[in-house]
């Protein structure tokens, strides 16, 4: 699996827009150890996005797309929300589902891909906002976990309905007043990470996207565990800077403030026993691969 499958016809190469030429020349499809460090040295799988200036969601998108272990054989399922404005600019197969329907679509898709491509690893990753995941689509989210569907669910948690003007969502914190929720939220933020654990997810993480290396780690873990064992869930804080009254350059600081040990996005992780075992095996294999590569390099230098 690699860029061999993504080639431009030679006779028409010169007329292809440069972003497509760059994708073929220097995107990291097929690269075994791809990650956030490729950003800046290779073509990213996201073109210009249409999110607001400084939106942390755009950072999250960049880190996630750089970290997917198998982008050429990954299908992402999105839903209505700010994320759906970005997917047209993403060079990974993706499906836009009805609002809230994303985990149901992903369930069918994952099963169909297993039947259609039995010998090939095909990853499915759901990426939706908190409205789609926790409010409108909670039924589909939970049912997919109960059924132990083998895909990753990522929730971009901005704690409200951002692109419709700031309505209250289940993941909004208690007491928060938004433009379209003037009374303030009356009940606590829904504890979806805990619910995910109890619903059968094998890997659950609650964090912000302030650290690209952390995002890379959790994405890789989540996709590998979902591939082999069962459902995984990542809840990533991507604050809507407009709706919480911040400036474009303040998104990163907002995330840093919210991930302090006593705050609601302090790093929280749950790994099931089978998932722990898998991660240990993967780490051992990775170590072996790196040692072999090092040895080869040393041999080449000696010759």
């Amino acid at each position: 699996m690699s860029k061999e499958r993504i080639q431009i016809s030679e006779a028409l190469y010169d007329i292809m827009p440069s972003d497509y030429q760059d994708l073929v020349k220097s995107a990291t499809y097929g690269k075994e150890d791809r990650g956030w460090k490729d950003i800046g040295t290779s073509k990213e799988l996201i073109e210009q996005h249409s999110l607001c200036a400084g939106c942390p969601e755009s950072m999250a998108f960049r880190y996630i797309l750089a970290s997917l272990p198998n982008p050429e054989d990954t299908v992402m399922v999105g839903s209505t929300g700010c994320t759906s404005l970005v997917f047209p600019m993403v060079a990974v197969h993706n499906i836009h589902s009805l609002f809230g329907n994303q985990n149901a679509i992903a369930s069918g898709l994952k099963r169909a891909l297993s039947v259609r491509f039995p010998g090939r690893v095909k990853d499915v990753v759901v990426l939706a906002g908190d409205g789609a995941t926790v409010d409108i689509g909670l039924d589909m989210t939970l049912q997919a976990w109960f059924r132990q569907e083998k895909f990753t669910t990522i929730c971009f948690d901005n704690e409200l309905y951002a692109n419709t003007g700031g309505q209250e969502s289940g993941l909004m914190q208690k007491g928060f007043v938004a433009k379209m929720a003037p009374v303030g939220k009356l009940f606590d933020k829904v504890r979806l990470p805990e619910i995910a654990r109890e619903s059968g997810c094998h890997y659950v993480v609650n964090c912000t996207v302030s650290k690209p290396s952390l995002v890379e780690k959790v994405i890789r873990n989540a996709v590998h565990i979902a591939r082999e064992i069962g459902p995984t869930y990542l809840q990533l804080y991507t604050p809507c800077i407009l709706e919480i009254g911040k400036n474009s350059m303040e998104g990163l600081q907002e995330m840093r403030d919210s991930e302090k040990p006593t705050e609601r996005f302090a790093y929280k992780e749950y790994i099931s026993e089978p998932a722990k075992q898998l991660l240990t095996e993967l780490a051992a294999k990775d170590k072996e691969r790196k040692a072999a590569a090092k040895q080869l390099a040393a041999q080449a230098q000696a010759n």
Binding site: I6, Q7, I8, S9, E10, A11, L12, I15, M16, P17, Y20, E47, Q48, S50, P88, M89
Partner: protein, 211 residues
Amino acid sequence: MSDYRVLPGPEHFLPPAAASMGIRLPNPGQAHINGVITSEEDAYDEAARQFLMAKVPTIFPGPLVLWAWNEKAAKKATAIRHLFNTLKECVQPGQKPMLIPMPDYRPKYPKINPEVEINPNHPNLTIWHNKIDCCIFIGVHCHQANLSLKIIRGGTSCYTIAMCAQAGHEDAMLSFRDASVEKIMRLADTIKRLKGTVQPRLASANNGVSN
């Protein structure tokens, strides 16, 4: 048989699907011109004439030929390049043939650069920007081709031709079916044969822009 004719627009904002107006697709070995079933021979001649008359005759290759999925796709791409080169050789001064790709179907709104690409979700932008008055779609999946052809018919006066690999497109003004390398080469040959037999509509061209 329907009285409806698939003619250059602008028809109106939401033109009816030609199929809903009773236009049917050609059988193998046939083509259609303006919705009337005709022989392939006539269609080659008419397509060539339209290209030779146009101020900005344009080829829009789609993902099925732009990307080298297989050997056949690569061969079609080579044939399309030959068609474009032939067109360039056969037009008169003042005519400006173009080759503009439709690399994929993502609705890249509003990032589309109409100078370098066409997008099926707003093809009129590329038609308007480049003042295209005759175009041919090759290697575009049927659904996206139909969508584009309808939008173009709705908002521009561009003459549309489809070189379809399946059963043809009733929403184009002229459509071939079962596209192959041979058919693309034959269209190029016809353009060469009819070179100089028709006059380009340079003075009267309204540049595809009609609203």
